[in-house]
């Protein structure tokens, strides 16, 4: 059975060089005549020899070196019996000896091979799909800006806003891409751009939906709950999506991180809102959404019902007054 010599970067370090030993005797040292040549001024020209005994056991024997052989315990020795995992120091260089049949860890999957090779990439995994998402998000921003503006020079404004959003996307995705490069070795810039674009579209459509519901059913209790739920999910998906391209975390772990981040963020926002609520203001906040649809489609109250709502409102104000006393 052969033995493998690993030249390490330091004590318990990573491997710099491996040499297979399958001869009865092999020399290690600084001279170029050695089988294992070490670049270390504290190592002798011929420092030590690996010897195989008749029963196949390997040992390392000092060849009369200046600094001898140091083992992990710090003792200096002339002969060391070698087994799998034995580490020694020659000069300042650490060596580790491995059995050739020692088990190795399974290969780490490459990012691109997460999907089984048999399956064709889905639309959002393709470059065209990702570019489509980004373009879609920008078009949506532009269209909304245009529909929201009533000025003559709406076009210029819309262009300005859309470009601003595009720049923000690029900065955001750029930060994630740099982080991804550090951690996984790959930038995946377009993937990060697609993630933020998809989240933007979801936020935006959710907001539109909320406002439209607010017009048809003003001050209903369900829409804000649904909207908060949507925010939580989209925010978690955003974080988890970015992590998919910038970490080795499993899908479950990614969502766990995403959910935590989004919950903490929303809790903070909620706390801010509470603080704000406590402050006196003489400005009034009310639901002002109007949609120009046929009024026959809009659920309406009678004037009497509205009057009853006013009485309700009075009770709210009286509660405030009572608190003041």
């Amino acid at each position: 059975m052969a033995m493998i010599i690993e030249v390490l970067t330091g004590k318990h370090g990573t491997v710099r060089q491996r040499v297979r030993v399958d001869v009865p005797s092999m020399s290690i040292g600084r001279a170029l005549t050695n089988a294992v040549i070490l670049e270390d001024p504290h190592v002798d020209a011929v420092h030590a020899r690996v010897l195989r005994s008749d029963d196949g056991q390997y040992a390392l024997e000092d060849a009369g070196s200046v600094n001898r052989i140091e083992v992990l315990t710090g003792l200096l020795q002339d002969r060391v019996a070698l087994s799998d995992g034995t580490e020694v120091q020659l000069g300042k260089t650490w060596l580790r000896f491995r059995d050739e049949d020692a088990p190795v860890a399974p290969a780490l999957p490459l990012q691109r091979s997460v999907a089984t090779p048999a399956r064709a990439p889905r639309w959002h995994e393709r470059t065209s799909g990702r570019i489509g998402l980004v373009v879609g998000a920008l078009l949506l921003t532009g269209a909304e800006g245009w529909l929201g503006s009533s000025e003559l020079d709406a076009g210029t404004q819309v262009l300005g806003v859309t470009l601003g959003v595009a720049v923000a996307f690029i900065l955001w995705a750029g930060i994630w891409a740099v982080a991804a490069r550090v951690i996984t070795g790959k930038f995946a810039f377009l993937a990060h751009l697609a993630v933020i674009a998809a989240a933007w579209i979801a936020f935006d459509l959710g907001d539109q939906l909320k406002n439209t519901i607010e017009f048809f059913l003003p001050e209903n209790r369900v829409a804000p709950v649904l909207y908060t739920g949507l925010l939580l999910v989209v925010l978690a998906a955003l974080v988890s999506g970015h992590l998919a391209f910038s970490s080795h975390l499993s899908r479950v772990a990614r969502w766990r991180v995403g959910a935590t981040v989004s919950a903490v963020l929303l809790a903070l926002l909620g706390a801010f809102a509470l603080v704000d609520d406590d402050q006196f203001t003489s400005a009034a906040a009310f639901s002002s959404e109007i949609r120009t649809v046929s009024p026959s489609l809009v659920p309406k109250q009678s004037v009497e019902e509205f009057s009853a709502e006013m009485a309700d409102l009075r009770a709210d104000v009286d509660e405030l007054l009572a608190k003041n006393d």
């Binding site: 929201g148 009533s150 002002s288 006013m310």
Partner: protein
């Protein structure tokens, strides 16, 4: 207009002086008359000052005058309102001619007409007897007081009748009443009190509380069994409650005047004491057809009631804003309509006096058209049972025209707010 008169009242409360206009001298006659009037009546006028307890210095001044031999003095409510609101921090002093300060108590107030009666315990041989005075427009009058703490002064001016557009009567006096003269009398040359100096719009446009209101307040104090209310706010609240009943109960009841504003037909000038102003604006002048046109028609009452430096009530305002567009599509018009409807129509307020606004928004089938209606309500902390309210309504139905109308009431009971709002909803329609 209402903001101008509000400003005028504010000006009177503080001691800062406005540049006084030199009185025109028309020969020797008036000069003689004026000096005679001054000599004859100046001993009936006193300076009032509000002393802030922690600094022991005056925070504001005004004028008062004797109206009885047992020392009742008339002044404006706004002169002593700091004392009413923070009794312990602000005491009232009256300064005699020789400069001695005497503490005074507030016997009664008429917050609606901005009057108050003080007493010090002093008796006086010299006082004005209140009673009706017959006057013609242009009659010469003399106003006395302490402008800007410069010493007792006399100002000549002319009587110009009662204001036409006010809820509570006010005399238009053409003469310079300046800060500090509040609470002083304006008299005829033979010493008859015409009114009490109350406010100014500057440029000699000054206003007096008619003598009749002062007489009524003195009569109340003189009535057998009168006792000063232990909590002045109980009295003030009762007065303001009666006052708002007097004009809100009937508001919009009789078929009010209707006008066309853009493609809408809306209520205007619900009573004679409202005045309306209007205008129209294109969104831009670069193209022949503008993106949209805004037309407004705003009506309001001219006067409001001073309760405290930061608190007025009695405001009634009706505002209409019509938006029309020939160029915007339905979605873009909806966004424009939303932005105009979202503009906060509520008046500001001070935390000492008002709660925060609470609002309700609903889509309502008003009698003539479907609308989006928002009612915002806040309570008045020191005036239990009275509220400020703003009803803001968007008239729905078309994708290229919309109306935002609002009704603002302040210091009103909930009943009156409810009824006026309900009636207002019936007064908005498409043409």
């Amino acid at each position: 207009m209402s903001c101008v008169s509000r400003l005028a009242t504010v000006v009177l409360c503080c001691v800062l002086a406005l540049p006084a206009r030199a009185q025109e001298q028309a020969g020797d006659g008036p000069r003689d008359a004026t000096s005679t009037v001054f000599a004859r009546y100046s001993d009936r006028i006193l300076k009032v000052q509000i002393i802030e307890s922690s600094s022991s210095a005056k925070r504001s001044i005004g004028t008062a005058f004797f109206v009885s031999s047992d020392g009742l003095m008339l002044t404006n409510y706004h002169v002593i309102s700091d004392h009413i609101h923070e009794r312990d921090d602000n005491r009232v002093e009256v300064l005699q001619q020789d400069g001695t300060a005497i503490p005074a108590v507030v016997v009664a107030v008429d917050v609606v007409h901005d009057l108050a009666i003080l007493r010090t315990g002093l008796v006086t041989p010299s006082f004005f007897t209140l009673g009706p005075v017959a006057l013609r427009q242009g009659d010469r009058l003399y106003s006395l007081g302490h402008p800007s703490d410069l010493g007792l002064s006399i100002v000549e001016g002319t009587y110009n009748g009662n204001l036409k557009h006010t809820l509570s009567p006010k005399i238009h006096f053409t003469g310079s009443i300046n800060p500090g003269m509040s609470g002083g009398p304006t008299i005829t040359s033979d010493g008859r009190v015409v009114g009490v100096n109350v406010s100014t719009m500057g440029e000699q446009r000054s206003f007096l509380v008619p003598e009749g209101q002062a007489t009524a307040l003195v009569a109340r104090v003189r009535a057998p069994g009168f006792a000063a209310a232990p909590d002045p706010f109980t009295e003030i609240t009762a007065q303001l409650t009666d006052f708002q009943d007097s004009y809100l109960r009937t508001l919009f009841v009789e078929a009010p005047k209707r006008v066309d504003v853009g493609p809408f037909n809306v209520v205007s000038e619900p009573t004679p004491y409202f005045r309306c102003w209007g205008g129209s604006q294109r969104s831009d002048d670069r193209d022949k057809t503008p993106m949209y046109v805004q037309t407004w028609h705003n009506c309001g009452t001219d006067d409001d009631v001073f309760v405290a430096g930061e608190q007025r009530v009695g405001v009634v305002a009706v505002k209409h804003l019509a938006i029309t567009s020939e160029r915007l599509n339905a979605a873009r018009f909806g966004a424009l309509f939303t932005s105009r409807f979202g503009l906060d129509p509520t008046p500001s307020g001070d935390e000492k006096h008002v709660t925060v606004w609470k609002c309700r928004a609903r889509n309502v089938a008003a009698p003539a058209t479907p609308v989006r209606a928002v009612l915002c309500l806040r309570g008045l902390k020191k005036l239990p049972g009275l509220y400020d309210a703003v009803l803001q309504v968007a008239v729905l139905g078309r994708s290229n025209a919309g109306l935002v109308s609002s009704l603002t009431l302040s210091g009103a009971t909930f009943e009156n707010i409810d009824q006026a709002s309900t009636r207002f909803l019936g007064l908005l329609a498409w043409r």
